[in-house]
């Protein structure tokens, strides 16, 4: 694998002509290389961020109809709408005026100042207030559970690949592929029905009891934890399978690599080969999938939050969509996209730290 990436490429402009082309003279220092890698990734991140922000701007404009049309067609069901009403509604909903370029500038200003206006549904609360109230719940729930699922799934995947052909392989693989086929909302409905309604083990909705007010006291955190068990369990059950299968597959292909055979021939302990040789290399592609799968987990959490009435970002997005609350919807979509982008950027950086080859 490394043989195809011959000697490290020197920076041609830097190396003065005529010097002996030894590797030491032509290779920039490791620190400089790391900095270059970070700079490249940062530039790409900024570009992607800009593109995502622009997609969020273009999306409503590419779609047929405007929010005002939707509101007007609702009104029109009750009788004809006068021109004055139409103008009033358009003004109230902030139908964009001016050409597309000035709209874009105004939008970018909104994004930079995080001012997304007033929500239609939860009038007179601002979109910013709603989002910042919902964000902590989703961040803690999805973030924590995803990391737990990744670690657990990866370990099971290593085990399955190492014990290939035994029950330690077939049971996690089969159960994993069955569980990963579970729709998020169905797992949520089942847990809610059996653990919530039938056995009455856990509360059936919300993130905290009806009498509690959010603060950082021990009682409140305990209450929040208690309410979070079922949503967390749903995400864990549904996302675990994917990690097991992913790790198992990459691990199987690294086990076939020559360096593993070489390690075996050298008489290293099986455990050492499995963990320190094969698993260490197999985890790299899985780390990339981790960043990408995060988007899927965030998507799944929308369904989970809807079922459990859990007041996070997903539940808010669902409410915004149902009530055609376009400002809230746009802000939430941007929020979700940017969070996933940042997570992916961090994974990229981590990848560069773990795998020196990518820094070249």
């Amino acid at each position: 694998m490394t043989s195809t990436q011959a000697a490290p490429r020197g920076v041609d402009g830097v190396a003065p002509a005529g010097t002996s082309p030894t590797d030491a003279a032509r290779t920039p220092s490791p620190a400089l290389k790391a900095l270059g890698y970070l700079g490249r990734k940062l530039g790409l991140f900024a570009l992607t961020l800009w593109a995502a922000v622009t997609v969020n701007f273009l999306l409503p404009r590419l779609m047929p109809g405007t929010p005002a049309d939707a509101a007007l067609s609702k009104l029109a069901q009750n009788g004809p709408v006068s021109e004055a009403t139409k103008a009033a509604i358009e003004a109230q909903l902030g139908v964009p005026t001016g050409n597309i370029a000035s709209q874009y500038v105004a939008y970018l200003h909104q994004v930079v100042t995080l001012d997304f206006g007033i929500s239609y549904t939860f009038y007179p609360q601002s979109v910013g207030e709603l989002v910042s109230a919902a964000l902590p719940y989703t961040l803690v729930l999805v973030g924590l559970v995803t990391v737990i699922a990744f670690v657990l799934g990866t370990l099971l995947g290593v085990l399955a690949a190492w014990k290939r052909g035994t029950w330690l392989d077939s049971v996690p693989t089969l159960v994993g592929s069955f569980l990963s086929a579970f729709p998020y909302f169905w797992t949520a409905l089942l847990l809610l029905f059996f653990a919530g309604y039938v056995l009455r083990l856990f509360p059936t909705s919300g993130a905290y009891g009806p009498t509690a007010t959010p603060n950082f006291s021990v009682e409140f955190l305990g209450d929040a934890l208690y309410h979070g068990v079922l949503p967390a369990l749903t995400i864990l059950i549904t996302s675990l399978g994917g990690w097991i299968l992913g790790m198992r597959n990459t691990m199987i292909s690294t086990l076939g690599d020559d360096y593993v055979t070489f390690a075996e021939a050298n008489g290293l302990k099986p455990r050492t080969i499995a963990l320190r040789y094969a698993a260490r290399n197999a985890i790299l592609p899985n780390l990339t999938s981790f960043g990408l799968a995060l988007g899927g987990v965030v998507g799944g959490s929308i369904l989970v939050e809807q079922v459990f009435g859990y007041p996070g970002i997903g539940y808010l997005l669902f409410n915004a969509v149902v009530n055609q609350d376009y400002p809230l919807m746009q802000a939430l979509f941007l929020m979700i996209t940017v969070s996933v982008l940042i997570a992916n950027f961090l994974v990229d950086i981590l990848y560069g730290v773990l795998d020196p080859r990518t820094r070249r």
């Binding site: 195809t4 570009l47 992607t48 593109a51 995502a52 997609v55 999306l59 409503p60 779609m63 047929p64 109809g65 939707a70 290939r164 052909g165 089969l174 592929s177 069955f178 990963s180 086929a181 579970f182 729709p183 998020y184 909302f185 169905w186 409905l189 089942l190 809610l192 029905f193 919530g196 309604y197 039938v198 597959n249 199987i252 292909s253 086990l255 076939g256 960043g291 990408l292 995060l294 988007g295 899927g296 965030v298 998507g299 929308i302 369904l303 809807q306 079922v307 997005l317 669902f318 969509v321 149902v322 055609q324 919807m329 939430l332 979509f333 979700i336 996209t337 996933v340 982008l341 992916n344």
Partner: protein, 310 residues
């Protein structure tokens, strides 16, 4: 196991040999099918999928009642007349379940095929070209990969409210092709440096032919696997969107069944069959496709075939 080895070597040689000597398409399909069938997990998956497809095709003959036929007792428990009970609107759950299979299989098939075609076209040409063009595609694909699929689907579906199944398929394809394109690109990149591609280039083949007649056959298992993966994702996404009430909620599908079940408080009335059955069907259908993929891996990678030790 040894009998299933020849297909791979044949598949690699086939495109290089003159058209007349290439094995017929039917022979290739038969070999691929037997390779997939030889894997125990795939065999279970194929059998499950076949049952679902048959149930969907013959739904009008098997179903005891019409899908939207109302007028029975509302929210009834299971009985001899209604094996899985009735919905809150007085429809037969079993009949809805059978007809619902049609929507899921249709969406899986169409959306899976469309996103695979896009992934193949983009992934292969992207893997073969070099320079600025590749960088631009790289950026676009990464953008589509990183933007979370379901939230994007939900937002698009909200703007296109009431579009029905067609809208759902479009949304699923738009958000779902990028993963396959990326996987196929990396494989194309690794194949294009192999000797047999260099040989094809020196023998004066045009790039189009090299990409689609020489490289493509070597990626059969990836492409087939991508199809099943995309179909699974499409089925789950369709059910999710309909569960949120973002599709056409008058269509009888597994997703809308659960949407109505939740909205009519089936949790409180304790109708577990209404909650359990549609979700189980979605899970089983998706599992069958995942299981088939275990055998698909073996089409062009003998290492992954069942029973072969590493």
């Amino acid at each position: 196991m040894t009998t299933s080895l020849p297909p791979t070597t044949a598949a690699i040689r086939a495109p290089l040999s003159p058209a007349g000597e290439a094995p017929s398409a039917w022979k290739v399909v038969a070999r691929v099918a037997s390779t997939v069938w030889s894997n125990g997990k795939s065999r279970i998956g194929l059998t499950m999928l076949a049952v679902f497809v048959l149930l969907a095709i013959f739904a009008p003959l098997i179903a005891p009642y019409g899908a939207s036929e109302t007028g029975f007792d509302r929210s009834a428990d299971a009985s001899a007349a209604h094996w899985l009970g009735t919905t809150a609107a007085g429809e037969d759950v079993l009949s809805q379940l059978l007809y619902g299979a049609r929507i899921s299989i249709f969406v899986g098939l169409v959306a899976g095929l469309l996103s695979t075609v896009i992934a193949v076209l983009i992934g292969l040409s992207w893997g073969y070209v070099r320079g600025f063009g590749a960088d631009v595609i790289n950026f676009i694909v990464n953008l589509f990969l990183v933007i979370p699929g379901l939230p994007l689907m939900i937002v698009i579906a909200a703007y296109l409210s009431g579009g029905g199944i067609g809208m759902i398929i479009v949304v699923v394809v738009v958000t779902g092709w990028a993963w396959g394109a990326r996987v196929l690109r990396s494989q194309t990149q690794s194949l294009r440096s192999r000797d047999f591609i260099t040989a094809a280039v020196f023998s004066g083949e045009r790039p189009f032919r090299i990409v689609f007649r020489v490289i493509l056959p070597n990626m059969t298992s990836l492409i087939v696997g991508n199809f099943f993966g995309a179909a699974t994702a499409a089925i789950l996404a369709e059910a999710g969107l309909e569960f949120l009430g973002l599709g056409d909620s008058t269509v009888v599908s597994w997703g809308t069944m659960l949407f109505w079940a939740q909205n009519s408080n089936a949790l409180l009335t304790g109708q577990w069959a209404l909650l359990f059955a549609p979700g189980l069907c979605i899970a089983l259908l998706a599992t069958s496709l995942t299981l088939i993929n275990f055998g698909v891996d073996g089409i062009s990678n003998p290492r992954l075939r069942e029973g072969t030790k590493r």
